[in-house]
Symmetry: C2
Subunit: 138 residues, 2 copies
DNA sequence: ATATTATTGAAAATCGTTTTCAATAAGTAT
DNA sequence: ATACTTATTGAAAACGATTTTCAATAATAT
C-alpha cells in the first residue's frame, strides 16, 4: 500500500490526516482513469459514507497544490484529475475506455528549443496530451 | 477586412447573418488573446449594444463547430477561445500578457510514432501548448 | 486528559452555462 | 416592394458545478 506516500506528504505539509482525506486519497491514488470531483465523491463514499462533496473539492485542491495529482484536459471538460506520476510526464488517453497512460517525452526538448529560436519566446512549461485507442480498444 | 471569410463560412453552412453574429465575429476574429464568453460579450457590445450573452455562447458554439475557432486550455480555466488558424497548429501562450501565437509542429510526427510503438496505442489526435514569455515580456 | 485549532458536512450563495419562450428579423418566394 | 416562413434573438428562469459560511467535530500538541 503506497497511498501512505501521499498521506505522509500531506502530513509533512502541515495538514491533518482524517478519515475523509484517507478515503479521497485511496480513491484517486492508483486510478487508471481521470476522475471528476463527483466521481471521486461517489467512489470514496463507499469507503467512508459520511464524506461530503465539499471535502472532496478541498482535498483535491491540496493534492494538486502538492503536485500529487494533475488536471486532465479533454474535449468534454477539464475537471478530471489523475495521479501526477513521478517527474514530468505526458498523458495518453484512450478515447474509448478512458484509460490514462503516462509516457515521458524528453524528446520534446529539441522541439521547444526550435520554437524558442523561431519565435523569440522564452518557454517555461508545456502541456502535451495524446488521444487515441489503447491496446485493448483498437 | 477578412472577417468576411468567417461570415461566408457561416452563410454557406445555412446560418443566417445577423448583427449579433457580425459583432461576435468581428470581436474574435484576429484577436491576439484568447477570449472567454464574457470577454467576447463585453467587447462585442461596444459594437452592438443589444447583444445578449446567450447569443455569444450560441455563436461561439457554431464557430467552434466550423473549426473557425479553438478552445484554449490554461491553468486558470479552459473556457477561452481563439481563432483556429489554418491547418493544424499549436499554441504558444505568454504567461505575462496573455498573447497567443501559433506555430506548426509537424516535428511531432516522429514523437507520436515512437510513443505508438512503445505503448501500442493507436494515436489519433494530440494537443500541444507551450507556455512562456513573449519577446516583449521577457 | 485537556486545550488548541484545522477540518468537517450541511446549507446557502455564487458563478458560468443552458433551456424555454414569445418577439423579431433574415432570407425566400411572390 | 410585399408577404411568408422559419431561424435567430434577448430576457428570464432553470440548471449544474463550485465556493463560502458556520457551528460542530476531531486531530494533534501539550
Amino acid at each position: 500500500m503506497t497511498t501512505e506516500i501521499w498521506i505522509s506528504q500531506l502530513q509533512e505539509n502541515g495538514y491533518r490526516i482524517t478519515s475523509a482525506r484517507r478515503a479521497v486519497v485511496d480513491t484517486v491514488y492508483g486510478s487508471t482513469h481521470a476522475l471528476t470531483p463527483i466521481e471521486v465523491y461517489d467512489k470514496a463514499r463507499k469507503k467512508y459514507r459520511a464524506l461530503g462533496l465539499v471535502t472532496v473539492y478541498r482535498t483535491l485542491e491540496k493534492l494538486e497544490e502538492l503536485h500529487l495529482i494533475q488536471r486532465v484536459h479533454q474535449p468534454i471538460g477539464c475537471q478530471a484529475f489523475i495521479s501526477a506520476g513521478i517527474g514530468h510526464q505526458h498523458l495518453l488517453l484512450c478515447q474509448n475506455c478512458g484509460q490514462v497512460e503516462f509516457f515521458d517525452g524528453d524528446d520534446l526538448d529539441s522541439l521547444t528549443k526550435n520554437i524558442s529560436r523561431k519565435t523569440g519566446y522564452q518557454i517555461k512549461e508545456h502541456w502535451l496530451q495524446l488521444f487515441g485507442l489503447c491496446v485493448n480498444c483498437k
